[in-house]
Structure formats: structure tokens, C-alpha cells
């Protein structure tokens, strides 16, 4: 932690965070995505979230699979190690990286194809292990990089650019995660930066697997009339059923809220998540209540957004495995190797 990136350039107008870094210091290479692609907005949100959380960029590990979405880790946190894995295999790579070094912050970026088709099994099992990471699905209902085939999150009946209607039902990552016991589940929209950033910050603070499904339209292949993942459709069907604010540990909690109208969840690191505007009777700590809400909204064609479910009590993979505090990658060889005397002793067991 001693080698914090030096601020690159002095942009006099830019706010510095506690590390003295401006938002520019959290950026990456120039995007090569299509102009207007939702994924670029998500990138901006991520940059802002990390900046606001005062995270040292090089203590972050950013990973992805393959797809337009999976290219985006190059576009943020240039000082963080990145791993552009194979299609659908990011969760396992992240699991291994975390196993080797539990002290870093892990963020994975994936697409709906990457996560819900080829990578569904790995996603499900990362959830099951409650791997401590933020997992973002940049969900556009299509395979962007391979030019517009329907993905598994394409809604039944949604039209492709060529006019074909999708004949299969959608896999909804939110309900899926709920059924698999995920401990943090949220949905947002790339076009709603305010909400997105606050969700991302809470998700990063969450100890355990935080799934954030972001509807992120593909302007090139899925933003036309008839698509249910277009900017227009999404804007018209969004409903923020949970409005939450994330209050980092170090800030004083000054947010004003009526008693009864808000619920507060204390995160693992002591920061607080305030549910300030919650649909009536919504209980983000009850799987069944959340599932009910999802089903009802689905039936009425609405897309519920917000932090939909949180459970801060779950143990993460390392707690479950009782991994030592020192990252395994840093434990000295002397500690790891039992040495010749112990071997000699052990040999007697094999006689």
C-alpha cells in the first residue's frame, strides 16, 4: 500500500479524494466501443465509484471474460492489474486470484452472453462460494461483439435488428442470483449514473459476492424499435423500487430520513447502506419478498432497479475456508515448507 499512484496531471478543477487523486487517475485507455454504447457509461460510473471510495487503484484487480463489455476493464483504473480471461471463465480466474491474495479488491465485468450462457455455471458457483467481489453484468440482451445474436437475457418476443423475434424466455440474473443465495443483488441502468454509482459503491463495500445487473444498451445491435433492451424501452419501463444511499464508513451519517420510511444496513466494514425510498412493504432482507416483487413487476412489464437484496451476515469464501490473513502469495517459503526433519518423521508412517 506504500506505492500509491502519483496523480498524473494537475487538473485544477478536479476534486481530489483522500489519496489526493482526481477522477482522471482512475481512468484507463481510450474506449474503442461504439459511440453511445451503454458500457462506456458503466465505465464512467466505475471510475467515479472508486474515486469516491478513495480506493488505491493498484490495489484493485479488474477481470473480465470476452465481449464488448469484457473489453471495458482497459478503460478504467490503468494502475490496476487486469485480466481479460476467456469467454465465460472470469469467475474461476477471479476465484483463483482471490485465493492467492484476499487483500485486494476484485471487480469483474461481464456481459449477458459471457455470464448467462457460456459462463452460467461459473457465475452460479462464484455466488455459492460468496466470493468477495463486485460482479457487473453489462446486460444488453445481445452478443455485441459477435454482431447481434440474441443472448439468454433477451426477452421473449424482443425483436432483433433484422426483425426476428426471440423465441425463448429470458434468464434474469437477479432472480437467478436470488435462488442461488447471493448476498448482494442489485440492478441499475447505464443511463442512470447517480443510481449506478451509489449501487457500485455499496457493492464494493459488500463483503462477499455482489451482483450488479446493469441494463446497458447496445446502440449498434439492440437499440431499435421492438427491442426490450433499448435506451428508450428501458427508460420507459424502469421503476426504482429501492432508492438507497451508501454512506462510507469514514463519513458521518447525516442523511435525514423519517423513521419507518427507511431501513439501514450496516456493511461489513462499518459503512452504512440507507434505504431511503423503498416501495411500500419492500424488504431487501427477505428472499421471498424480493422474489415476489420481481415476479409482480415482471408480469406488469416493469424493470425494478435498486439494491434489491442484501445480506451482510454471510461468510465469504475465505472465512468459510479460514484462509490466513496474510495473502497466500506473500507467505514465506520457510513457513510453507515443513522441512527435512518433519519429512523424515513422516516417512515412518509409510513403513
Amino acid at each position: 500500500m506504500t506505492y500509491i499512484a502519483k496523480p498524473r496531471l494537475i487538473h485544477p478543477g478536479l476534486r481530489k479524494n483522500k489519496l489526493g487523486l482526481t477522477v482522471r487517475d482512475y481512468e484507463g485507455a481510450l474506449s474503442t466501443l461504439c459511440a453511445g454504447c451503454g458500457h462506456d457509461s458503466v465505465t464512467t460510473g466505475i471510475i467515479q465509484a472508486f474515486h469516491e471510495l478513495d480506493t488505491p487503484p493498484h490495489r484493485v484487480v479488474k477481470l473480465s471474460g470476452i465481449g464488448c463489455s469484457s473489453k471495458t476493464p482497459t478503460y478504467f483504473l490503468r494502475d490496476a492489474h487486469g485480466f481479460n480471461a476467456a469467454h465465460g471463465r472470469m469467475p474461476s480466474i477471479a476465484t483463483g486470484a482471490s485465493a492467492a491474495n484476499k487483500q485486494l479488491t476484485y471487480i469483474g465485468i461481464s456481459g449477458d452472453g459471457d455470464s448467462l450462457s457460456i459462463g452460467l455455471g461459473q457465475l452460479a458457483h462464484a455466488i455459492r462460494r460468496n466470493l468477495d467481489m463486485l460482479y457487473v453484468i453489462e446486460n444488453n440482451g445481445v452478443y455485441g461483439l459477435t454482431k447481434g445474436q440474441f443472448s439468454a437475457s433477451a426477452d421473449l418476443g424482443s425483436k432483433s435488428k433484422r426483425g426476428e423475434a426471440n423465441s425463448y424466455g429470458a434468464i434474469d440474473p437477479v432472480s437467478l442470483a436470488l435462488s442461488l443465495g447471493a448476498t448482494f443483488i442489485a440492478r441499475s441502468f447505464s443511463g442512470d449514473k447517480r443510481q449506478l454509482v451509489s449501487i457500485l459503491k455499496a457493492a464494493i463495500a459488500h463483503k462477499g459476492f455482489a451482483l450488479v445487473d446493469v441494463i446497458s444498451p447496445c446502440v449498434t445491435f439492440n437499440d431499435h424499435e421492438g427491442s426490450t433492451k433499448s435506451y428508450r424501452y428501458t427508460r420507459e419501463h424502469l421503476t426504482e423500487i429501492v432508492h438507497s444511499d451508501f454512506v462510507p464508513l469514514k463519513e458521518e451519517i447525516t442523511v435525514d430520513y423519517e423513521a419507518g420510511g427507511a431501513a439501514a444496513v450496516t456493511m461489513h466494514d462499518g459503512s452504512v447502506l440507507l434505504f431511503t425510498k423503498v416501495a411500500e412493504g419492500y424488504d431487501p432482507s427477505s428472499r421471498e419478498a424480493v422474489f415476489s416483487y420481481l415476479m409482480k413487476h415482471q408480469a406488469s412489464g416493469k424493470i425494478p432497479t435498486g439494491i434489491l437484496y442484501v445480506d451482510e451476515s454471510g461468510k465469504d469464501m475465505h472465512e468459510l475456508n479460514r484462509t490466513a490473513e496474510t495473502p497466500l502469495s506473500e507467505v514465506g517459503f520457510e513457513t510453507l515448507c515443513p522441512g527435512s526433519a518433519k519429512l523424515d518423521e513422516l516417512m515412518d508412517d509409510f513403513r
Binding site: I4, R78, H81, G82, F83, T95, G96, L343
Partner: protein, 603 residues
């Protein structure tokens, strides 16, 4: 020819035919260990079915004063505990051999063989008479045949007592039952048969510095000693016991007994694709990490193996081979994954392979594999097999050199990075093929974007031919460079040798025994055992020295031979295949017959 007419001391083989799930393992282990403790070289081959309960299983024990521990198909004695396989078992006896059967039920006279001695012992009856619980009756029947064997083969009963004491010292009831059952069998044999048989044991002093260990256990121990901390796997026979052993050793050596904290992380993955992903993630992040699997797992891992190769991430994969293709015979041995491992993944890829021949090498090769993986930043395969991995082998005690320091290869520290102008991940300044890497979280300057897509020497995305080629050409040089660091071949030359013999892995015992035998028959062979790919120069030198080299391996297609043809400069005419691939460990008979036949047909 009646093989057993003359007395044969410490030189015979027998097997126990049983049904799996009946708990015969402890009886068989007891016998095997007792022989070992008598100082006599012994080996055991467990031929078990891919099933949990009720199918035939055999345990073969070979005793050989000269230390030949390869499988032999010539049995002097068979303990026939499984009525279903009586017929087959009886057929497999040497003329003059002995069949020990459970005479609680009469033997079908149709099965009788004139040239075989039948020894009936009412094992089930005895056990039923002496024990109450059905489960105990089954188990003790097995200990009873161990007693019979002890008498017939002249096993030192004091050794047996000692072993039972060690095993059941704390559980007196168990101890008593075992003693009783053993005695029942022992005394019955003493009373009813002429003991010992013409072939039998006599204490020696040949195992004092030895142990009995299986390759999976030894390899797991090697991983612990090599400092591996992250292990990810998906259960598959015959590799499962490797991870079980690793877990056991970690439990013993890597847990802080006070805090309960673990200096290891074992991940049972959801499948092999995830297992290798985890290993790659951990290796990338700076931990020594490995997986163990078998053929189907290697197939499933192939995409990510290519990623690790191209993105240059260390990973150790243990392939405990079983009989393929596809699911094949999961509980039978083979060396059928050589080519698959060497060229695993699409595109131009080549990997480093190590071929241990026995549990001892499994142990030492483990540390070697991690050193190679980190030095060359690439996947390294330890290509073992079921025979090595799951059978107990007689090996010298394993030793550890405390001066060993892991070779972590080129890794830049925070300080080094701090002083650098710019870190370029794939830039090969000194042209030795290997470039510097960094671990995440160490220093902002060390950051780069690891990718399996086209990249140039700076680690940046490219689609330019020359930039792409520069990197893959270096990978090719890097692979070749590993030959000098990998375990060198073992070469044994003989004055007057006319042919070369080349083999690998678990074939070694059978081949060495065969070479001795051939020598007696006047055929003198030089022998080279390949221990790694890429091949050392000495491999080609050896092959060139012989116009005829027999390449002996356990697969149908002569995969080592193919690899030798493809990856050395040797003319293929010099390479003759001698293959065994039915699923049983190689025996010297097969080699002797094969070489004689091929020489005969051409001379």
C-alpha cells in the same frame, strides 16, 4: 512346466480375488506391509472396478528379492474369494500353482484343474462362528485369509502382531477381533496344509531405507514441500486421492493450531474448466497453484491451457492418466494423454511435460514442476498414471534438501518497479525467451492487462503480423529452452548393446526387468528413459546411436514415438513401437516377448 516344484524364496506372486465394497483392503494391506517389514521387496497392484460395491476386484502382490516390482501376470497362488470370478481366476494360475478358496460352499467340480492345488478353508463359516455382527463377519473373513496366507507363505507373525498393535492399539475390541480372525486362519492352515508352500518368505534386509507409498500421496507431499498454496480440482478417478492427500498434509503442516488459520486454500471446483481457471488466477496472482485430474479433465481444460500458455501464466497440472478415450476404463491405467498434453489447446501451443516413473519421482518432480512453471511462466504437466498414482510402490525414503529455494523466475518486486522507467510485460531484453512479470497489488507501475488475445511485446493489444509473430516466436524459443532445466533422461548403456530401448513413466520397472531378462537371453539393450518434454539433446544422441530403438509405452497409437519423430531430428525408421494398452500395468513378459518377436521377425 511346473514352476513351483523347487523352493522359491522371496520370489513369487499371488493375488486375492474379491468383491469390491467388502473391506478387503485392510487384509491385503496387512499382508503387503508385513512382507515389507520382513525386509523383503514387495509391490501391490489393486485392480478395482469403476463401481462402489459388488463387482470383482483383485489385489496382486509380487514378492521379489531382486527388487523387481513391476506387475507380473504369472501367479503362484490365488485367493479366490469371489465365486463370480472363480473360473477366470483358476485359469490364471501357473501350472502347479495353488488356489485358496472358501470351502464354506463346495467348489463346482467343473472348475477343477488337474495341474493346480486346491486349498479349501471354510472362511465364512469360521467367521460366522466367531463373530456376531454381519459387517464384522465379512471383514473378519478377510483377516482370516490373511492368517491363512501368513501360514502358507511363512509371514512372521510377530510382524503381524506389531502391525495390528500399531493400527488398533487404541481400539482394543478391533484389535481382539483382528487377532482372533487372523489366528483362525493361521491355525487352520497350519493344521490342514503343509506349511509353508514351496514358495515362501524369508526375512531379508532390503527395505530398511524404503517406504511403501503411492504416487498420488508422494506427489501431494511434493506439492506441500514445493510451497504450493492454492489447489483447485474436480473429483475424478484416479486423481482424487492426490487431493485427499494434499488436504491431509495441509491439515498437518499448514494449519495454525492456535488460530485455526490455514496457509492454503483448496477449492473443489464445479468442474475442470473452473479448476484450471482457479489455478491460473492464483498463479497469475503469485501463488504456487496446481490441479490434478485425468484425461477427461485435460480435454475440458484445453481452452484455458492455451490462455495460460499465451498469456504466460505458471500452472501445474497433474494428469493421472487412466484408460481412454472418453470415459474409457476409469480404474485402469494407460499412457494415452501424451500427445494431448504436449499440444493441448487450439492454435500453435507446446507444453512442458514431466514423466515420473514411480512415487519417488512424483515427489521430486512436484517441486521441479513448480520451478519450471514459474521460471518459464507456462503450464507444466506432470504426466502420471493410475498405476503409479494409486498403487503402493516400494521406494527409497523421501528426502528433502533444506537448502532448496523455490525458483520463482522473473518477478519484479515493488522496489524494482519503483525504480523502473516503464514496465513492459513481454519485452525480452536479454533474449533468453523469458520476460519479467509482476503480481497484482504490488505497485501501480506493475499493472498491465493480461489477455489471451493478440498482444505485442509491450503487452498491448495488436493485430499486426510482425508484433504478433515476435511474441509467439519467443514462446517457441522459450519452450525449447526448458529442455535444459527439465529432468534429464536416465540412460543406461551396456557393453555390446545392439538395440536401444526408450520408454517413459510407469513402464520403467517392467522395462528394466525385461532388459535384464533379455540380457540373459543374449539380447543386449541400451536403455533411455525419457523424463521430460521438450527433449534433452541426449535423447536424440541416444536414438542416433542405435539403428533400432524400441519405444515402449502404454497406448495404442505410439504417442511417445510420434512426439520423438515430431520433436527430434531422428529418422523415424529407427523407432519401433512396442505397445501395451489393455489397462493393466506393464509386465516384463510383454516387453521380452515383444522385443524378441520384432527382432525375430526381422532377423
Amino acid at each position: 512346466m511346473d514352476n513351483v516344484k523347487v523352493d522359491r524364496i522371496n520370489e513369487f506372486a499371488f493375488k486375492i480375488a474379491n468383491t469390491n465394497g467388502t473391506g478387503s483392503a485392510s487384509a491385503n494391506g496387512l499382508i503387503m506391509q508385513a512382507i515389507f517389514r520382513m525386509g523383503v521387496p514387495v509391490s501391490g497392484k489393486n485392480l478395482f472396478p469403476s463401481n462402489i460395491q459388488g463387482l470383482p476386484t483383485w489385489y496382486e502382490i509380487r514378492v521379489n528379492k531382486d527388487g523387481h516390482t513391476a506387475r507380473t501376470p504369472a501367479f503362484d497362488l490365488i485367493v479366490a474369494m469371489n465365486a463370480e470370478t472363480y473360473a477366470r481366476d483358476i485359469q490364471e494360475l501357473q501350472p502347479g500353482g495353488y488356489l485358496l478358496y472358501d470351502s464354506t460352499w463346495p467348489l463346482n467340480p467343473a472348475l477343477k484343474r488337474e495341474d493346480v492345488h486346491f486349498l479349501g478353508v471354510p472362511l465364512a463359516q469360521m467367521s460366522r462362528d466367531s463373530f456376531d455382527k454381519p459387517r464384522e463377519q465379512i471383514l473378519m473373513k478377510n483377516i482370516a485369509y490373511a492368517g491363512v496366507l501368513a501360514a502358507l507363505l511363512d509371514i512372521d507373525t510377530k510382524v503381524i502382531d506389531q502391525l495390528l498393535e500399531e493400527k488398533y492399539g487404541a481400539k482394543q475390541a478391533m484389535m481382539k477381533s483382528n487377532h482372533l480372525a487372523f489366528k483362525l486362519g493361521y491355525e487352520y492352515a497350519q493344521k490342514n496344509f503343509k506349511c509353508p508352500l514351496p514358495f515362501h518368505l524369508k526375512a531379508m534386509d532390503a527395505t530398511r531405507d524404503a517406504i511403501l507409498i503411492d504416487g498420488n500421496t508422494a506427489l501431494a507431499l511434493g506439492c506441500v514441500y514445493a510451497g504450493a498454496t492454492v489447489a483447485a480440482w474436480y473429483p475424478i478417478t484416479p486423481s482424487t486421492s492426490l487431493m485427499d492427500a494434499f488436504k491431509g498434509f495441509c491439515h498437518r503442516f499448514r494449519e495454525n493450531k492456535e488460530t485455526g488459520e490455514n496457509n492454503y486454500c483448496i477449492l473443489q471446483a464445479e468442474d475442470e474448466l473452473a479448476a484450471i481457471g482457479m489455478v491460473i488466477g492464483a498463479g497469475w496472482s503469485g501463488a504456487r497453484s496446481f490441479t490434478c485430474t485425468s484425461g477427461p479433465g485435460i480435454s475440458l481444460m484445453s481452452e484455458l491451457i492455451g490462455l495460460a500458455y499465451y498469456a504466460e501464466i505458471p500452472a501445474v497440472l497433474v494428469d493421472v492418466q487412466r484408460t481412454g478415450p472418453s470415459t474409457g476404463m476409469p480404474t485402469r491405467t494407460q499412457q494415452g494423454d501424451i500427445l494431448t498434453c504436449a499440444y493441448a489447446s487450439h492454435g500453435d501451443t507446446k507444453h512442458i511435460l514431466l514423466f515420473p516413473a514411480n512415487p519417488e519421482e512424483c515427489f521430486y518432480f512436484a517441486a521441479h514442476a513448480f520451478d519450471l512453471a514459474e521460471r518459464f511462466q507456462t503450464p507444466v504437466f506432470i504426466v502420471s498414471d493410475l498405476d503409479i498414482g494409486m498403487n503402493d510402490w516400494l521406494c527409497p525414503r523421501l528426502k528433502w534438501d533444506d537448502s532448496y529455494k523455490p525458483d520463482r523466475g522473473r518477478v519484479l518486486s515493488a522496489d524494482q518497479l519503483e525504480k523502473m522507467e516503464k514496465f513492459l510485460r513481454y519485452s525480452d531484453e536479454d533474449q533468453d525467451g523469458v520476460t519479467s512479470r509482476t503480481f497484482p497489488g504490488v505497485h501501480p507501475k506493475g499493472a498491465y492487462f493480461t489477455r489471451g488475445s493478440g498482444h505485442n511485446k509491450f503487452g498491448r493489444y495488436t493485430e499486426l503480423p510482425h508484433e504478433y509473430q515476435e511474441v509467439v516466436d519467443r514462446l517457441s524459443r522459450k519452450h525449447a529452452a526448458a529442455a535444459k532445466y527439465a529432468p534429464a533422461p536416465i540412460v543406461h548403456t551396456e557393453e555390446g548393446a545392439t538395440v536401444g530401448v526408450v520408454s517413459l513413466g510407469g513402464c520403467d520397472g517392467g522395462v528394466r526387468e525385461a532388459i535384464e531378462e533379455l540380457k540373459k537371453q543374449g539380447i543386449i539393450c541400451d536403455y533411455l528413459r525419457v523424463r521430460a518434454f521438450p527433449f534433452a539433446d541426449s535423447v536424440e544422441t541416444f536414438l542416433r546411436a542405435h539403428t533400432k530403438n524400441f519405444v515402449i509405452e502404454q497406448n495404442r497409437d505410439g504417442q511417445l514415438r510420434t512426439l520423438l519423430m515430431a520433436e527430434t531430428g531422428i529418422e523415424k525408421e529407427r523407432l519401433k513401437s512396442l505397445l501395451a494398452y489393455g489397462g493393466f500395468p506393464l509386465s516384463s513378459h510383454h516387453v521380452v516377448d515383444g522385443i524378441r518377436q520384432q527382432l525375430g521377425s526381422q532377423s
